[in-house]
């Protein structure tokens, strides 16, 4: 594998350098029907799960077929997408904000061939490559993060938990039977790159053990003051430590009982790893939302404090998720998001109906606003 140069010269990095040109201009990428009718759409309709039509004031129509995708995607897959787009869509395709793939055609008769093509493509293992769905009052793709595929701080895997979850939720990806859309999100540590804090259901990897201290290396690898100040609970203080071999080194000490395993210290200092086979696992949150529709956006709430990492299919996690989805499907009103439903029936009924256990971990004790989550009324249900 010989190194092939583009012409870049490390000795003269500025030579012929192009910078700050920004992203590609989207105008180059719009399908013609989009380009033409932009800003002049009249209305749309979801014809069936995964198939939308948008009608322009001009009468033009654009049909969109939405296909699910694992966003961890090889160039092989992307090329296959291109093949499909070339065949059906004049070489245009788009991705949604939740990592689905949208194939657009400009007339109705092009829809069936496209759908058939998509539905026919499967991996040898049996999974669909391009399942059609993810619209309306159903469950769409799970937005997620890196997990064990690329990040240094995860407490669980991302792609794996998502695959396991989408497999059990698959019917609802291809259906629109729910009271409202239900968004599932996933983040593999408390940094929450998936921004799961406002999701109907959130899968969150998290640690439950205070950091280990690699005293021998700590001062060499980390800036001790940065590590100390990283801690939101002031659990870390600088401290001299004596190694097994008797040498005294500068390092830190952690007050374990103040630690909430947020991993912020580890972000700043590699000599404070948290990961642990049995300590790490999953927290489930529920009832958040983003849209301003009917009710205001709201944060997700922790509804299961801990589930162990059960590779490769996390059955306790998928079972808890399924229980929530089914209880919600059975009980909520039309247009009612999961969180609105929980608030209407009361969280005490939520736990009952979803058959989830309430434990002391679910009571907020973080910062003063925790107070606001306690019950300051005699209004409650037995």
């Amino acid at each position: 594998m010989a190194f092939i140069s583009t012409g870049y010269n490390p000795a003269k990095p500025m030579e012929n350098r192009i910078t700050d040109i920004g992203p590609k201009d989207h105008n180059e990428f719009y399908p013609p029907v989009i380009q033409k009718n932009k800003g002049k759409w009249s209305h749309h309709e979801i014809l069936e799960p995964g198939v939308l039509v948008h009608v322009a004031e001009s009468g033009d129509e654009v049909y969109t077929v939405r296909a699910g995708g694992a966003r961890l995607m090889s160039t092989t897959m992307i090329n296959e997408i291109c093949d499909i787009a070339d065949k059906h869509c004049n070489g245009h395709v788009r991705f949604t904000t939740r990592n689905n793939i949208e194939f657009m055609v400009d007339s109705k008769d092009k829809v069936e061939p496209l759908k058939n093509d998509l539905a026919s493509r499967k991996f040898d293992g049996g999974s669909y490559k391009f399942p059609i769905g993810g619209t309306g009052a159903g469950i769409t793709n799970i937005v997620h993060t890196q997990g064990w595929i690329h990040c240094h701080t995860p407490a669980t895997d991302a792609s794996g938990t998502v695959k396991a979850s989408m497999d059990v939720l698959f019917n609802d990806f291809q259906d629109m039977r729910l009271p409202a859309q239900l968004r599932v999100s996933m983040a593999c540590c408390l940094n929450m790159c998936g921004a799961v804090h406002c999701s109907d259901i959130a899968i969150l990897g998290y640690h439950r053990k205070p950091p280990m201290l690699d005293h021998e290396y700590l001062d060499k690898v980390c800036e001790i003051p940065l590590a100390v100040s990283a801690c939101p609970t002031a659990a870390i203080r600088p401290s001299k430590q004596v190694l097994a071999n008797g040498t005294e080194v500068k390092s830190v000490a952690v007050k374990n009982e103040r630690c909430m395993y947020c991993g912020n210290c580890y972000t700043m200092c590699p000599s404070m790893p948290l990961a642990d086979t049995v300590g790490d696992g999953i927290v489930l949150m529920a009832g958040g939302k983003v849209s301003n529709r009917i009710s205001e956006p709201k944060f997700s709430k922790v509804v299961v404090a801990f589930l162990p990492n059960e590779m490769p299919r996390w059955p306790s996690m998928t079972s808890a998720i399924t229980k929530m989805v089914e209880a919600y499907a059975a009980d909520a009103n039309k247009y009612e998001r999961l969180g609105d439903w929980a608030e209407r029936i009361g969280w005490e009924k939520f736990f009952e109906k979803c058959e989830l256990e309430f434990t002391h971990h679910l009571i907020d004790d973080f910062r003063q606003q925790a107070y606001m989550s306690w019950r300051q009324t005699t209004q409650f249900k037995f």
């Binding site: 012409g7 989207h26 966003r71 804090h197």
Partner: protein, 442 residues
């Protein structure tokens, strides 16, 4: 035969949802076969080793990636995340496995021509594994080695006309919903504005000068399809000031359950039968402000009490349209929970015009005022939201020259702990205790 056994991962090949394992395996195979004769610039078996190290993580439930070293391209402070494996001997193909964040186009529209150029480049100089897309919005090119970074950047800029996105204490790659390109609800052209802002602030995107990361997200309407309100330091959300437009005939079509007028545009066409459409139960009764009435076949909206929640429009898109006097609201401070708990954006600007003709002057002025303040006052690794929390929302108003309005709050303060400024209080704060003692013995 695969380089590493992956019995655990193999179990993720079954089930209907697209299997990333199957995809990784096909990619590994493609590289191994290399029918196109690509002169791979990074190890051929990179994907096999990726599968191998992932299997190891599945075995004992821990990651095998170390903190990234400082790698990047010359003159940029972001766009690349360094990553090294903590088992480089067992998995040499992924010993160094950096990602590059490629700034995605507005609305995430692509031509296949472009995508194919990108895959070609990435097969050649990287693992061929991507994320389409990263959580911020970028195209994530997942896994290459340090020497390839400049080369990839060169090709991207010279041959694809394509720049990197953000990382580090920079402006991050701004993202948008598809907006007016294909959505009748859009109150402004999100694609145009996100493109403008990304180009306008290339320097902020590439060269870290901020206390911490900073995110823009642009939603065309309050449905928030790019979730801007939950995950951007500054969210731009379309809205309008005038009246919802009503087509009474179409309203009655919905009421009559005309099949061409399905409730919520067909979003409930699933296996559950919700029964016939009922405008009282489904629209007027669910309006959060109860500002609608349907009587005598006529729908009326008291627009002065409408909070533009979108519900009625979502339910009857053929009958109801957003107003014509459109613009956007700006909310500030959303972020994930580290350190002080998550925040959603707080409303700073109820309404501002979106005017490409003056280069969105009103908007860039607000952005720059906010940045000036944050760069002046923000501590290292302090997000905008945290600064607002620490110093108070008033400081943000002062920094942007915006007057306090009841719209800024969901409810006024419940405590009387008001900080007055000295010049607001007659006589100021300096007082003579001796003078006071003349009237008040000790």
């Amino acid at each position: 035969m695969a380089k590493h056994e992956t019995p655990l991962l193999d179990q993720l090949e079954t089930g209907p949802w697209p299997s990333f394992v199957s995809d990784l395996k096909q990619q590994a195979e493609k590289r191994a076969k290399n029918v196109e004769g690509v002169e791979f610039q990074i190890p051929v078996d990179v994907v096999e080793d990726l599968l191998g190290v992932l299997e190891l993580s599945y075995k004992h439930g821990r990651t095998h990636w170390k903190h990234g070293g400082i790698v990047g391209v010359f003159g940029y402070g972001g766009g690349v995340i360094g990553r090294y494996c903590d088992q480089p001997t067992a998995f040499p193909g992924v010993a160094a496995f950096h990602t590059m964040r490629v700034n995605h186009p507005a609305g995430k529209y692509y031509s296949t021509e472009y995508l194919r150029k990108l895959t070609e480049l990435w097969d050649f100089r990287g693992s061929g594994i991507t994320n389409m897309h990263g959580a911020t919005g970028d195209i994530i090119l997942l896994g290459t080695t340090t020497p390839q970074l400049e080369e990839i950047f060169w090709t991207l800029t010279h041959d694809l006309g394509q720049d990197l996105g953000g990382s580090g204490s920079n402006l991050r790659t701004p993202a948008d919903c598809l907006g007016q390109s294909r959505c009748e609800y859009a109150c402004y052209d999100t694609n145009a504005l996100v493109y403008f802002l990304t180009n306008e602030y290339q320097d902020e995107l590439h060269r870290p000068a901020f206390p911490y990361k900073f995110k823009f997200k642009l939603d065309g309407c309050p449905n928030c399809c790019v979730a801007s309100i939950a995950r951007s330091d500054m969210s731009f959300i379309g809205t309008w000031r005038d009246d919802i437009r009503i087509d009474q005939d179409a309203v009655n079509k919905y009421v009559e359950n005309d099949p061409a007028y399905p409730a919520n545009a067909g979003a409930f066409r699933g296996s559950k039968d919700w029964g016939p459409f009922d405008i009282e139960k489904e629209v007027t009764g669910l309006c959060p402000t109860k500002c609608m009435k349907f009587a005598n076949k006529k729908l009326t909206i008291d627009n002065s009490n409408c909070t533009r929640c979108m519900h009625c429009i979502n339910v009857m898109p053929r009958a109801l349209k957003i107003g014509k006097d459109t613009g956007l609201s700006i909310l500030c401070g959303a972020k994930a929970p580290i350190l002080d708990g998550a925040q959603m954006g707080s409303l700073l600007v109820p309404f501002v015009e979106v005017n490409p003709d003056n280069d969105y002057e009103e908007i860039t002025e607000i952005i720059e005022n906010v940045w000036d303040w944050w760069m002046e006052e923000g501590k290292n690794r302090e997000r905008l939201g945290e600064l607002i929390m620490r110093q108070g929302f008033q400081r943000l108003l002062e920094a942007t020259g915006i007057e306090a309005q009841p719209q800024h709050v969901s409810y006024p303060r419940t405590n009387p702990y008001i900080f007055w400024k000295e010049d607001e209080v007659e006589g100021g704060w300096e007082r003579d205790v001796e003078e006071y003692r003349k009237h008040h013995q000790r």
